[in-house]
Amino acid sequence: MSDHHPTGITRWLYTTNHKDIGSMYLWFSFIMFLVGGAMAMVIRAELYQPGLQFVQPEFFNQMTTMHGLIMVFGAVMPSMVGLANWLIPMMIGAPDMALPRMNNWSFWILPFAFTLLLSSFAMEGGAPNFGWTFYAPLSTTFGPPSTDFFILGVHMMGISSIMGAINVIVTVFNMRAPGMTMMKMPLFVWTWLITAFLLIMVMPVLAGTVTMMLTDRHFGTSFFDAAGGGDPVMFQHIFWFFGHPEVYIMILPAFGVVSEIIPAFSRKKLFGYSSMVYATASIALLSFIVWAHHMFAVGMPVAGELFFMIATMLIAVPTGVKVFNWVATMWQGSLTFETPMLFSIAFVILFTIGGFSGVMLAMAPVDFQYHDTYFVVAHFHYVLFPGAIFGTTAAVYYWLPKWTGRMYNETSGKIHFWLSMIFVNLTFFPMHFSGLAGMPRRIPDYNMMFADFNMWASIGAFGLGLTQVYFLISIIIAIKSGKKAQEKQWEGATGLEWDALPSPAPYHTFSTPPKVD
């Protein structure tokens, strides 16, 4: 009875089940990951050697822009929402998300938003080509006609994320099982709750920004047009007021994921649970007062540079607390190194490298040298790929037995991990060097002196891309014909989803709330 569910296409179209919607989010984000990854392959193929080989600069610009937009809004954010949908109700002992119908809607907006965005490739003037940050006046006065499709697309994905965030907040506040107090919640639920608050604070600001762009382009306003009394620098302020919290939106749920996985494979409780909660909240609060570190080079007064520099460096403190806690959790634990644990450890190490280059970029005087170079590209790919994407990958391996009732092949998972680990570093580490040597970002051609670094990065990128296709295949094999999973697949795992539910988790769970003590 509890496993009864509708069949056919309408199951997916009409579903209000958090597990179905979670799966659809995850599959959608993986498709977008491959689409955005294909664009990255075009970029890296062009940059394999100096000179122009495969694409024209105009098309190259469309590639960098769409790669960024697809990966941020199409791959990383929906994958985190997918994890939230699957896991939060099971972790807090709720039968479903609080607003299931809205949940269905917030997912089904996404395919339409991205069809709009991707259709711009077929339009006259091509796809948006102004970078994912769409600075005015590049995107207003000089944007291609398809910019309006981009604006509508961003509005739609913004609405989708806002609805997802409302759902998470209401679920966590009102649907916890009796006895599940706030400070007993798994850390993944905490990080997502904080992420959801960030989302409802800044996605409306993004919506406002693109609305201003729209009226500047078509309705005669001059928000960002100096000729009419506006100010293009103001665009950057408003955009980054959204943009900086946005980067924490992408990473905080991954923090939550590794905070579940590392204790499980260390066979110890998470070190410093409450300090983790407070550190996450402080990161979120600080993210609102550091936005101008993205624009040190616009000509700010020294006082402004100092403020944003120091505030930014302050973020290293709560982040350091988190890294310390993960390491301390592993300290003297009885560790085993299954695939989810490998990805989580790599997450801690490589995310920390990305954090360090972040501190370097936070220093206003040296940022003038690094600004808009490949050093920045190296920095944010180090926090996004081994950060957000390794986090999601670890989650997929860790909870796959619970979701599907089947285990992945451990050897196959280890191959996926080691290839990813080698190629991710081969791709992004050389970018630190080419960036420090002065190679600007978003260019299709470059000076001969950067040739070797770029060749290594391109080889790494092709390998990294193929490795993710391998991941897809091995996950499909696992779902179809993997070994049957046990109810508690990982001996060190904790939480309601492992202790109170069979594998695979039935279609309807916790119709009567579990007892938590």
Binding site: A227, D231, P301
Partner: protein, 186 residues
């Protein structure tokens, strides 16, 4: 908790969250005037203020500040535009006049709008213009040329460390938006 009670709780929370979302959307637009007010008070983006009245104040004849003039032409603006002098040395407190020259080298009537900017930004707070072509738009017929006056004085309390400042004008072609506006007005 009964189902109905739960529904009521959910509704209350949803409306609060929707309130935050609406508030943040409006806040994005409120950032525009906030930004302008903030820059106006601190002068950090180098925007000069509107028309000032010259009050004869004590001229600090011991100090000399060099004021340089820069002119730039925006894309799609077929005018010649320059200041008649590159720079002048002024005493804080005294009223000065410089003249700018503009010529429409195209075959069409064009409306131009100059946007001033001061560097270093904080000097903008002490630069007062009593008369400036940038307060209005200029319509020049094809081939027409014009000399435009600009009168300004520096506040006597301009910080000691500012000995040199640059006043730059960016000239924009606003013919299209002016024409559209006048058509809509009719």
């Amino acid at each position: 908790m009964t189902e109905q009670l739960q529904q009521g709780e959910n509704k209350k929370l949803i409306w609060r969250l929707v309130g935050i979302i609406g508030g943040m959307f409006l806040f994005a637009f409120a950032l525009v005037p906030l930004y302008n007010v903030f820059c106006d008070i601190t002068g950090i983006n180098g925007k000069t203020r509107g028309q000032a009245l010259y009050e004869s104040v004590e001229v600090d004849s011991k100090r000399i500040v060099t004021v340089e003039f820069l002119t730039n032409i925006n894309r799609g603006m077929p005018w010649e535009f320059k200041s008649m002098v590159k720079s002048i040395d002024v005493h804080p407190g005294e009223l000065n006049e410089v003249r700018f020259y503009a010529k429409n080298r195209s075959k069409f009537d064009i409306v131009g709008q100059s946007i001033p900017s001061v560097s270093p930004g904080e000097a903008a707070l002490y630069l007062n213009k009593t008369e400036c072509f940038c307060f209005d738009q200029q319509r020049l017929a094809a081939g027409e040329e014009v000399e435009m006056p600009m009168k300004f004085y520096l506040d006597a309390d301009i910080p000691e460390d500012i000995t040199r400042l640059t006043l730059s004008y960016q000239l924009f072609n606003v013919t299209e938006s002016v024409t559209t506006a006048s058509v809509t007005n009719q």
